[in-house]
């Protein structure tokens, strides 16, 4: 299964504002935990290890996310 990197956000600005707003009033340490939780929650929603691996490759700016390793 392939990660979808085509435009899929209904309202990019609304999403972006919510993402930044999620950190309102938090310390740096608290923000780090909140980001981590968001990743875990969304990762569980996606579920597919291949898709998640492709996403992680993009996050690390890897050149060619065509045959990703599942996260170990």
């Amino acid at each position: 299964m392939r990660l979808n990197t085509d435009p899929n956000l209904d309202s990019p600005d609304v999403f972006y504002e919510a993402l930044v707003d999620m950190h309102r009033g938090l310390s740096e340490d608290q923000s780090e935990i909140v980001n981590a939780k968001l990743i875990l929650v969304l990762a569980n929603h996606i579920g597919d290890l291949e898709v998640l691996g492709q996403a992680m490759h993009i996050a690390r700016n890897d050149a060619n996310p065509s045959r990703p390793e599942p996260a170990r």
């Binding site: 780090e32 935990i33 981590a36 875990l40 929650v41 569980n44």
Partner: protein, 557 residues
């Protein structure tokens, strides 16, 4: 307070071998009378083979060592006749609790199945396990247990390893056909043979203490991440027999072991854990550097390594004694066939292959647990804490929490000894899987399936209502083959059992559990190895196919 533990003192007694003109020769010598060495000697004795079992000391282990024995290990101990005293003496448990900071985030139940004879886990301090095994070894009569016999030299070249043994009466030499080394993590034998372990990965320093206390805590495994009484670090608590509690405190990387080991530094930690004026007594304490490492090969010619000397992992997943005893379970039936001339030495390479596979699984699992318990980066720590926070309310996060993936029976799915399925089957009893237990009746008396298999190859046949003449012949030939296959015929409840050849055991599948878990449609035949792992299975009984599978599982093809 209950009395402190007094280890038994076993008598040193010189052997006639010590005054022999030439080095005495024995078929099998086992070095190290810990849980692994003792089980190996007892298992060989059950096969009718004498062993000489050497231990450098004259007592059981000291300090807090193995605690938790998994169901599979209990099944193995049952098979060699030592399971019942361990279960009777020990503390059964299957619940665990995880705490993060100042509250419990969730509880879990590790009990997989109803209808198995043994519980998921039994806790018993290692010195009690060893006492029980020493008694079993003495009862076995074919075990020549020699205390205060310390191996100081080994020459393992050729077909007859030779060892020099130091005793209170001086040195003497022995030779053997096979040398089983079970002398622990620091393995003097391994070192003497110039063999290395590879991939050593440090997993943190821990203060390990045995504490006597009359606490009302239930028999549960409790794990704390970052508790108020030990901030930024982890703590693990297990209940053992006789009001003895095992506590592991994770220490800072730069902790000084000598300082940490001092009672005046340990007592406040335990007091903080208990949180009240509860009375307790520190029995033992030690600082361990946990690590993962393994030997590349567990077999070196006539020398076979088992237990911690072959593979070492941190204790969170309880894979030390459990894996070591499973090593023995895998090794002894193979060694016995080689000794009997019924299988080539090549079969012992599969011991190294299969238990090496198990060691890799143990190490990988322990590394993952290690990362969760001791995150190696700020980002890793953030994910760890995030997971724990989420786990209080979200089941998905609980599955990610890793305070140690407890020892589970290994499915030898890729083993070269398996015959892959040619027919479709449902369920988990695939070739390589350890046979699942089930309640049965034999001659009207209640019993268990696993009590009927093990020690030799066994066929489990879900026979049709009437066994045909050709099937009769096939069964009889298999029972009397050079590597015989013991036969069990499964009768369904409320059905008349079919007439069976002499020597077949008929069992009644009282709750239809076997039929369900083995997908036992009529005609199905399972070949089960002496270590209770499935070797092959078919939808119909074919003498040639079963013989072929036995040959394959013994490297005779």
């Amino acid at each position: 307070m209950p009395n402190p533990y007094s280890p038994p003192v076993y008598e040193y007694a010189p052997s006639p071998d010590q005054s022999a003109e030439v080095a005495a020769h024995h078929p099998v010598i086992v070095v190290g009378a810990g849980p692994v060495g003792l089980t190996a000697a007892i298992d060989l004795a059950r096969h009718g083979t004498k062993t000489v079992l050497l231990d450098e000391d004259n007592t059981v282990c000291t300090g807090s060592r193995a605690v938790c024995y998994a169901k599979r290990t209990l099944e193995i101990l049952d098979r060699v006749g030592c399971g019942e005293p361990v279960v009777a003496r020990g503390v059964a448990w299957n619940h665990g609790k995880i705490f993060f900071r100042d509250k419990q985030v969730y509880g879990f139940n590790l009990l997989g199945e109803e209808g198995h004879r043994r519980p998921a886990f039994v806790n018993l301090q290692q010195y009690y396990l060893e006492e029980i095994l020493v008694d079993c070894a003495r009862d076995a009569k074919l075990v020549d247990l020699r205390w205060k016999n310390r191996v100081v030299e080994v020459d393992a070249h050729g077909d007859a390893p030779r060892i020099t043994v130091e005793t209170p009466d001086g040195r003497y030499a022995l030779t053997c056909d096979w040398l089983i080394v079970a002398d622990g993590a620091h393995s003097p034998l391994r070192r003497m043979m110039g063999l290395e372990t590879e991939g050593a990965k440090h997993q943190g320093n821990f203060l390990v203490a045995d504490v006597v206390m009359k606490a009302e805590f239930p028999a549960e495994r409790w794990f704390w991440f970052d508790p108020p009484f030990h901030p930024d670090h982890s703590v693990l608590l297990h209940k053992q027999a006789d009001h003895l509690w095992r506590v592991d405190f994770q220490l800072a990387p730069d902790a000084d072991p000598e300082e940490e080991r001092k009672p005046e530094n340990i007592v406040p930690r335990i007091r903080a854990l208990l949180g009240d004026g509860r009375e307790f007594e520190l029995q033992t304490a030690n600082v361990y550097a946990f690590q993962c490492r393994r030997m590349e090969r567990f077999r070196h010619g006539r020398v076979l390594f088992a237990g911690d000397c072959a593979r070492q992992v941190p204790p969170f997943g309880v894979r030390g004694a459990n894996s070591g005893i499973q090593d023995v379970d895998n090794l002894i039936w193979k060694l016995q066939l080689v000794i009997d001339g019924k299988a080539p030495e090549q079969l012992l390479e599969t011991y190294s292959e299969e238990r090496g596979f198990a060691a890799d699984a143990d190490i990988h699992s322990s590394m993952c647990s290690g990362e969760f318990i001791t995150p190696s980066s700020k980002a890793s720590r953030a994910f760890r804490d995030a997971t724990l926070e989420l786990s209080e309310r979200h089941p998905f996060a609980r599955r990610v929490v890793n305070s140690g993936r407890m020892s589970v029976p290994l499915v030898l799915a890729e083993s070269s000894l398996n015959v892959p399925d040619a027919d479709p089957f449902d369920g988990a009893m695939i070739p390589g899987a350890p046979a699942a237990d089930a309640p049965i009746a034999v001659g009207g008396k209640a019993s268990w399936l696993l009590a009927q298999i093990g020690g030799e190859f066994t066929g489990v046949y879900f026979a049709h209502r009437r066994i045909s003449e050709s099937e009769f012949e096939a069964l009889t030939h298999l029972m009397t083959a050079p590597v015989p296959v013991r036969m069990i015929v499964v009768a369904r409840p409320a059905e008349t059992a079919p007439a069976v050849p002499e020597g077949c055991l008929v069992i009644e599948d009282r709750t239809e559990a076997i039929t369900r878990s083995y997908d036992g449609r009529p005609g199905t035949f399972y070949l089960i190895r002496p270590d209770q792992h499935v070797a092959a299975r078919w939808r119909a009984l074919s003498g040639p196919l079963v013989r072929g599978a036995v040959a394959h599982a013994t490297c005779n093809d």
